[in-house]
């Protein structure tokens, strides 16, 4: 997969209008936007690093830390909220000892809060590594996590 440096180099002559598409492309390739990548971008665009960082932090779509092995998207849309998705989110935070960057203390899990996953009929819903899991309760969520962790141990 292309690195940030290669992505920037491939563009040739750069203008500041390309900042957001480049940030998106770098995140696509590397899973997140690193400080190193933002510094390179600032250099290439001849713009202060504070501006690159300012633009990147304005948008929810950009991540500044790498994704864990397992990615859990927690739906916090209206339907899921009514079905108490907050309890799920809070439980994940406690159980996985989430850091400020949204990943678990051991870095294996990354939790992303999403406004709506488009599966309201099975609310509250999460998406774990691309699979939907609906009608969740804290107990069912725990069982799911136990399974993922056991699976990882079995594989090891």
């Amino acid at each position: 997969m292309a690195t940030a440096d290669e992505i920037i180099a491939a563009r040739g002559e750069l203008t500041r209008e390309q900042l957001i598409p480049l940030l998106q492309e770098i995140q696509e390739a590397e899973g997140f936007v690193s400080q190193a990548a933002m510094s390179r971008l600032a250099e290439a665009l001849r713009t202060p690093v504070s501006r690159v960082y300012g633009v990147a932090t304005f948008y929810n779509q950009f991540r500044f830390a790498p994704l864990g092995e397992h990615v859990i998207q927690v739906c916090r849309g209206t339907a899921c909220h009514v079905k108490e998705s907050l309890a799920l989110a809070q439980h994940l935070k406690r159980r996985l000892k989430l850091r400020d960057d949204g990943s678990s203390a051991d870095g294996r899990f990354t939790i992303i809060s999403v406004a709506c996953l488009g599966a309201c009929s099975i609310a509250p819903v999460i998406k774990l590594d691309g699979e939907f899991y609906g009608h969740l309760t804290v107990e069912r969520l725990d069982a799911l996590l136990d399974e993922v962790e056991a699976g990882a141990e079995a594989a090891a």
């Binding site: 690193s34 400080q35 933002m38 202060p48 504070s50």
Partner: protein, 574 residues
Amino acid sequence: MSITINGKEIDVAANETVLQTARRAGIDIPHLCSLDWAPSPSASCRLCVVEVEGLPRLQTSCSLEARDGMSVQTHTPRILKARRAILELLIASHPQDCLTCVRAGGCELAVLAGDLGVRERRYVGAVKEHPIDISSPSLWRDPNKCVLCGRCVTMCHSVQGIGAIDFVGRGFQTRVAPGFSVGLNVSDCVYCGQCARVCPTGAIVERSHVEGVVAALADPDTVVVAQVAPAVPATLLERRTKTQDVHTMLERLAGALKHVGFDAVFDTSFAADVTVMEEATELLERIQDNGVLPMFTSCSPAWVHFVETHRPDLIPHLSTCKSPQQMAGALIKEIYPAYAGLGDKRLVVVSIMPCTAKKFEAQEQTGVDYVLTTRELDALWGRFGVDLAHFAEPAPLDAPFAQASGAGRLFAGSGGVMEAAVRTAHKLVTGHELEGGPRVNEARGSEGARHFTIAAAGVDLNLAVVNGLGRLQETLDDLLAGDPPVHFVEVMSCPGGCVGGGGQPYDTDGDAVHERLERLYDADKRSSLRTSHDNADVRALYEDVLGRPLGEVAHRLLHREYVDRRPAVDSVSV
């Protein structure tokens, strides 16, 4: 072309905004985000809204071009109500520590609240809990006091061309911060302090040295001396002081400083005269020995910091001269204890400067213990009950550095170092003074970059004066590639030079900078001593202590080295 404001017809200039037209007519429309220093307003604070005939909605006057025939109302009940609501929302999440805030008594936001009749908090918003950044030796930031007007960002990006800080995040979490939210001390910041000078609240302020100075003054075993930069008296004349003479003001300031306990007061312009001797000699030596040219001045610490952190490849171009502040500090520490018979007493040197970057400089070098900005002086007067406007007990400047030339005074303004250096360089090269008098018109003015040539003994000296770091970065390539080659470049970091410095009063505008420059020109014109090399105290100093310019002792006391301060790894990948 004219517009009507509140029923009165007022002529408008080309490309003028309604806000500007109104101000010329003596009508003050409140505003936070727009700044005289930068042309394009963000129109984000909304306080400057006005009614325009024919337009249903309120318009922001800072971004509204005054067009012929326009009819504007600036203070109708509808407008006043809107402005009040805007301000109430602006302060809804503002901390309530106004009594103990560093801006207490002089807060622009508090003044606005009074002007707009906000006398209670109708809305109580969430409390901001951003970390306070005290990492910088020059500037402290408290983002919780920030109203996000963006003036600091405008100064940093559009005027100074540095861009160390910008808006970060979104919504209620929005704050102004350096890239990656690091501390200012490891950001792109060069400590010029232009952000602090325009901040309407206490969100960015100089790192205060007042308590250190007060403690030193209270210690009987410590002798405390001050050195005062020439920009300071040129500025204090704005305070109802009943004199318009820089030297008279300086002597009054010396009197007030001695009244609060300073043992001696020196004029940093004296050290500027010494700087001229060293720098002019260095320039001529570089020209003679095919040294690195152009040589850039090194008086402005934010510029020096810019070179060390952004362009270390330019280090060989920087004059090795310390700044006048540091020359003065070194000379005072070397000479004064024996001269004044201080014995075992500790000597503390306090500089009074128009500058925040000087605080960083003082921390990096020996010679100066504390730096007070022009603004911090007010805290000192307040502590000791000095009313500077009425304080009439002048004191002469102290020996052995009592005399300063008009040339040394000019260091406070853009072009002044160049003018002083040209006067002396001409004498050093040709053996006689400038023909047609000491005034060097070409160095004066307010343009961003001024190029000129002075002929001296068959040599054409190609010179340039650059006003402000923003302009510097635009012209740097031309200066380095100059054809014919440029010999000497004066760089001052702040617009207008030190008189527009980051430690100067909050109400500094373009007019104030201009008036301060005029006072310095006037002080020079009326001085009987116009050239650094004719300063008797400077001559005595060379005879008794320094030997010759660039000599061994001068080298040890008055010159310095520079460091490449770029981070070893340019960024940490998290």
